[in-house]
Each structure stands twice: as C-alpha cells, then as structure tokens.
Symmetry: C2
Subunit: 115 residues, 2 copies
C-alpha cells in the first residue's frame, strides 16, 4: 500500500483516467516501466494524484485538472511505452476510460477537499 493511498484531489470538476488491465506473463521490465510511468505522471502539468491496486486485474486511476491535461498524459504515456518493449509485452488486455468527476465524498460524508 502506498504512503498516500488516496489521491488528494480538489473540489470537482476534474478528470479521472481509469486504466484496468490484465498483465501478460513474466516481468520483462514491467516493474521498472510502471515506476517510470508513475514518476513521469507526477511531473506532468495538471497531475492531481493516482490510486492503484492489483490482484489479478489491475486498476489504476489517475486524476487530472482537465481534459487537456489527461490528453497530454496519454501522449506521454504512449511515447514511454513505445520507447520500451511495447504494450503486448506487458499486457494481455486493457481498458481505458476517461471521465469527468462531478461529485465526490469521503467516509465522513464531507466533500474530499474539505476533509
């Protein structure tokens, strides 16, 4: 579990990129690539935070200030993957969904940013 399991997002609206994946067999540099990917995400303009879990299926949700920031990240991520071994080395299959968050709340029922 990461030090900060929850992304520290501002009041909505903001953008969520939901990446759901099934890994291919073997590492083939996957762990290093995933670490680079997250480091790179944190440096992008408009990055707000990231939440990630895997047990068989993996779900990573990255949060972005707006659609432009999310699109910018897509380009950077695609470039990083292309530079290395390519998607089929690491993933059997995946889905990407880009969504605008319209409301949010924490366990105490407050908006996240007020927590």
């Amino acid at each position: 579990m990461p030090d900060q399991p929850f992304a520290d997002t501002p009041p909505p609206p903001y953008v969520a990129v939901i990446f759901t994946s099934i890994r291919a067999d073997g590492d083939h540099g996957y762990a290093a690539m995933a670490a680079s990917m997250e480091r790179l995400a944190r440096e992008q303009p408009g990055f707000l935070g990231i939440e990630s879990a895997r047990d068989g299926v993996g779900i990573t949700v990255s949060y972005w200030a707006d659609q432009q920031a999310a699109r910018g990240w897509k380009q950077v991520a695609a470039h990083l993957v292309a530079q290395r071994r390519g998607r089929a080395t690491w993933y059997r299959d995946y889905r990407v969904r880009v969504a605008t968050v319209e409301r949010d709340y924490a366990m105490d029922s407050s908006p996240i940013d007020a927590g």
Copy 2:
C-alpha cells in the same frame, strides 16, 4: 481474478462510481457483505458492470447507465450497510467519486463496445 475482469460497457456516455477504500482490521462479516453488495448491484436498474482489485488499498469501479442509476445505487448500498454493522466496522477510510465517462478504448485502440 473474476471470470470477466473487464466491465462490458456500452458506448459512452455512462457513469463510473469510483470507490477507493482502506479496510479496517478483521473481517467482521466483510466478505459476506461485499458479496451481497455485488449481487445487489447486479440487480439494480441501469447496472452496466463492475471492476475490482485490492492490495492494501481497494478500488472498485461500478458502471451505471446514467446519474439516476448511480444515485439509486448509492441509496441501496447505504441501506445495506446500515442494516449490518456499519461503515466503521469495515473501513478505516474511503473515497467515492462519481464521474461521467466521455470516451473509452481497449488495448487494440478500438472503442470498447466495438471490441
């Protein structure tokens, strides 16, 4: 890993409810509650699918036909939790984000529904 790791969603727009959580210690009926919750979700009007992973932090994304369906699910889920032991028994903390999915694609770059 579930039999169908990816939710079989229609073309956008549709609604994603992103639930990120940290478990409290002990089971206290959590596994039974989680199973009931998923079974109940599948019976709700407007349910499209669910994707879930946990390793320390848990992420469950449920997909709904529209905002009304997502709100209906929130009421049902809250009722189920209230009937049993309550949130603090199972969760140390959580976040809920409700988002409208505007575009999606699969590994082969096609829209998910065309796959």
